[in-house]
Symmetry: C2
Subunit: 537 residues, 2 copies
């Protein structure tokens, strides 16, 4: 392998005569090679440990310190991908992947990304590649209709949709629009008085967006949620917090209810929250990053009831809609608010189409100027599967989650921690019954019910909770270390829960059964050798 | 084509029995199909008009109003790509594409993107896929070394690099870091006093980032540039503007010199600007989005001299470094400033590796939490071409630009408007000599020299300038309308210039000759029928 140190005087002669780096027949040859590489990867994916087992710094030990001076063949690079990279990959596409939220790829999504990469257009405005803009507007209307979003979110109703990279960007853009709309009314000097609201279950994207947009960190409210409301944001609590802020001279700006929180897929009540927001002329952004996809099924649509009163709505098609990362779908009722906050019109981008005002220039709907042709993959997913199959793919994940929930419920060593709403099950292993009996004499069974609380005042014996949390932390690590499945955790209401998120495209019922088998085996081991002292602090 | 309206009771039966959307052998089959589609596209690319010739709204007329209810075959979708989408694409990969800046794809870049899409990992932190993080740190060090960045920008020197989507994001992140570093010192209530500096040639990304980060729009300074400095930002002028702001009670925060401005590839003097910034403890971000790539060649490296005193540096590998969109390389000296401003640590992402502090969690170096495995494509570009070829690919573009410059200079109907520095030539067509003679009696030849000014005070006959500008606007539109090449414009120092940016990967010398032929033919026509009245206001 060459290195910078081997530079020599031949440099000026090296490139001439070299094939053009985009030569079509070479492209064809190498393209086919990579397709086979990836097809084999999917075929063999169950052979790899789901969660990578490498140690920090593993790769620096295996790769040279500088880029090669001379070219290396694609064959040798692919060998290194196989031997050096794949061991460091956590296999999000594995059917045994149940961690975080899914990153559900599909053939259609992959092919769409390939076309988009192949065309490699930079679609900042309509002019730079009309199809990139127009297809995006069209598929956003398609998906909006599938979700039965009110017309006010569609282009036909003077709203409109845009594809962002991630929810973080979608929230930052809408928050910036809301901020500037408010500051233009009350004066820029009031930026320090603006307040942003979420719940203690809201994704950290909201807090980050508020930080970036210059909201005083002291004015970010993570309103407390309670088990009594399944950890959804209570509109009444929100109103109380807002009132107290207003009394203190602050200005409520933005509230972000979630449909399917990251920790436990809780659903905030959009309708009641919008009513509160209306009183204070706040911007409501609905973050349905995970669960929004499910709302294309009639039986789940009610979870976004009330969205008609929100200002914006987003979901991540790259999470649970078969469209590879990244693809966040954002709809807004008032695109002009985005454009006022985010537009720039340098001379070098001036063009007739923009001046005609007949076109959308998406650069003014997002943070970046440059943008990929993301609608291609979403269009191909929608067409190649059709609404019917998409609904049923999602339903099959929900069905498998239900199946898993049934298995957990059938074994009294385990507990379902919060009600399952979509395709994620939150559960935990319980310390042996003898321990519980010893610790909670008068209220036997209390522990089994998880948290015996009134509005989150945890009565569960503190020590027992510590024991249970530590037990589950160790249990989860042991299961993940096998490499045969991968799950992650959350802590909600003080309880350490294991999250089992079904949604990897390749997952079938047999993988659920397999996961349950591994979980039972490890429960046997850890409970069989259980010693209270090991889990106490 | 089905539609939502055809929904029927069979829905629940449709998906069962359908192939899994990521079935490996189906992936293989369809993947090969797309590779052939794209290889044919590259083979035939010169047949398409470079700039799309569709009218606004063309696609909505051709596509249905709703997503199909039933699946459609990939073959029929590809037929639609060919017939409906390609006509709406502006072919950035065409060898006859000279507009904006290049979006230089390559086979290695494409294959890297395919692997990254195929693995489809969400690399927010080290834990979520160690290889994605580690490879990124490694290639950023590789590329940093190729650019001879000081060690303080590399991981080995306690700095480090990160791949962002675009320069807009890179600037927003560094500006947010700078803002919070300053506000933590002087108090959050001073946000309204912070000032951000660029030149009137700085990319609009800076202004947009300042808007988003909550900088008062009144405190954004686009410092005037002058022809005498080739439209580079003068450190002396900058100092004067800063002094005046400081006297007015404002606080200088951030300055962004550019290496290769969008309008004319001007280079701001980094060293002198850093000296000014140092006096005021400002953050200096060097935006080398376009020209940074060229600095891997020793003969261009001097354009970033002084970078050792900057705080951060970025270039877009997706512009002129054969790495498909998007791929912005950002290096910072003090990653902790980014992390302090951008980090969030929710429980559901807690993990041992993060707590060990032995790993980089890139989510805290950027806006979004989720992130694609972008380093894969950059790694493959660096390895498959090697430093030697990469340098020579860039040199071949510069050489072709020189060739084009020579052609323009050989024809006295044309004028080079600003000195060529990299691979872009800014030129214009001159009104017929007779017109010039009539208008500028005493100073014949003045017009030919472009702008006869002292520090941008344009003395050129105002009417003549209007005529020349309009002539070039019409001329450019006529040339672009042929579809045989595509260029865009800029207005610098009041002069409408045509930008000829060489850098499309497939461009060879014959395309330059061809472009010149088309330009000459259209010059013949437009000057042959020239009537002053047509171009006057």
């Amino acid at each position: 392998m060459g290195s910078l140190n081997t530079e020599d005087v031949l440099e000026n002669n090296t490139a001439f005569g070299v094939t053009n780096p985009l030569e079509p027949e070479e492209f064809r040859k190498q393209g086919h090679m990579i397709i086979d590489f990836l097809a084999d990867y999917y075929r063999d994916i169950e052979k790899y440990p789901v969660r990578s087992q490498v140690e920090p710094g593993y790769l620096r030990k295996r790769l040279p310190e500088t880029a090669p001076y001379n070219p290396e063949s694609m064959e040798s690079i692919l060998e290194d991908v196989q031997n050096e990279i794949i061991p460091g990959i956590t296999h999000w596409q594995s059917p045994n992947y149940f961690a975080y939220f899914p990153s559900s790829g599909s053939i259609a999504g992959f092919l769409g990304e390939m076309l988009s990469t192949g065309f490699n257009v930079v679609g900042f405005n309509w002019m730079s590649s009309p199809a990139a803009t127009e297809l995006e507007s069209i598929v956003m209307d398609w998906l909006g209709k599938m979700l039965k979003l009110p017309k006010s979110f569609l282009f036909s109703g003077n709203g409109g949709g845009v594809l962002q990279g991630t929810t973080c960007e979608a929230i930052l853009c809408t928050l910036t629009a809301a901020r500037d709309r408010m500051l233009n009314k009350i004066g820029r000097e009031n930026i320090g008085r603006l307040v942003v609201y979420g719940s203690d279950q809201t994704h950290c994207a909201l807090q980050k967006a508020a930080q970036i947009a210059g909201i005083n960190p002291k004015n970010f409210r993570a309103v407390q949620t309670f088990k009594a409301h399944s950890f959804g944001l209570s509109a009444d609590t929100l109103r109380k917090v807002i009132r107290s802020d207003v009394e203190a001279g602050l200005i409520p700006l933005f509230v972000c209810p979630t449909v399917g929180t990251t920790s436990s897929t809780a659903v905030d009540p959009i309708g009641p929250i919008c009513e509160v927001a209306k009183e204070y002329e706040m911007w409501v952004h609905v973050d349905a990053a995970y669960a929004g996809s499910a709302c294309i099924c009639p039986e789940f649509r009610h979870f976004i009831d009330g969205v008609e009163n929100a200002d914006s709505f987003s979901l991540n098609a790259h999470k649970w809609f078969f469209t590879t990362l990244d693809c966040c779908c954002l709809w807004v009722k008032d695109p002009s608010a985005l454009v006022k906050a985010l537009s720039t019109n340098p001379e070098y981008l001036r063009n007739k189409a923009t001046e005609s005002k007949q076109v959308v220039d998406y650069k003014d709907w997002q943070i970046a100027l440059s943008r990929r042709f993301r609608s291609m993959k979403l269009w191909m997913v929608l067409r190649n599967y059709g609404v019917a199959n998409l609904r049923n793919f999602l339903r099959s994940h929900v069905k498998m989650a239900k199946q898993f929930e049934g298995l957990i419920a059938s074994d009294n060593r385990f507990e379902i921690c919060v009600p399952r709403t979509f395709a994620m099950v939150c559960f935990r292993l319980l310390p042996p019954k003898s321990t519980r009996d010893n610790r909670v004499r008068e209220e036997d069974g209390l522990f089994v019910s998880g948290v015996h609380d009134h509005e989150n005042n945890i009565n569960e014996d503190d020590h027992l909770l510590v024991v249970a949390n530590k037990l589950n932390q160790i249990y989860l690590e042991k299961v993940n270390a096998t490499g045969s499945l991968y799950m992650t955790h959350a802590v909600v209401g003080g309880i350490y829960m294991i999250r089992f998120a079904v949604g990897s495209t390749l997952t079938e019922e047999r993988h659920i059964t397999h996961a349950w088998k591994v979980l039972q085996e490890h429960a046997d081991t850890i409970l069989g050798t259980f010693n209270l002292a090991d889990f106490s602090c």
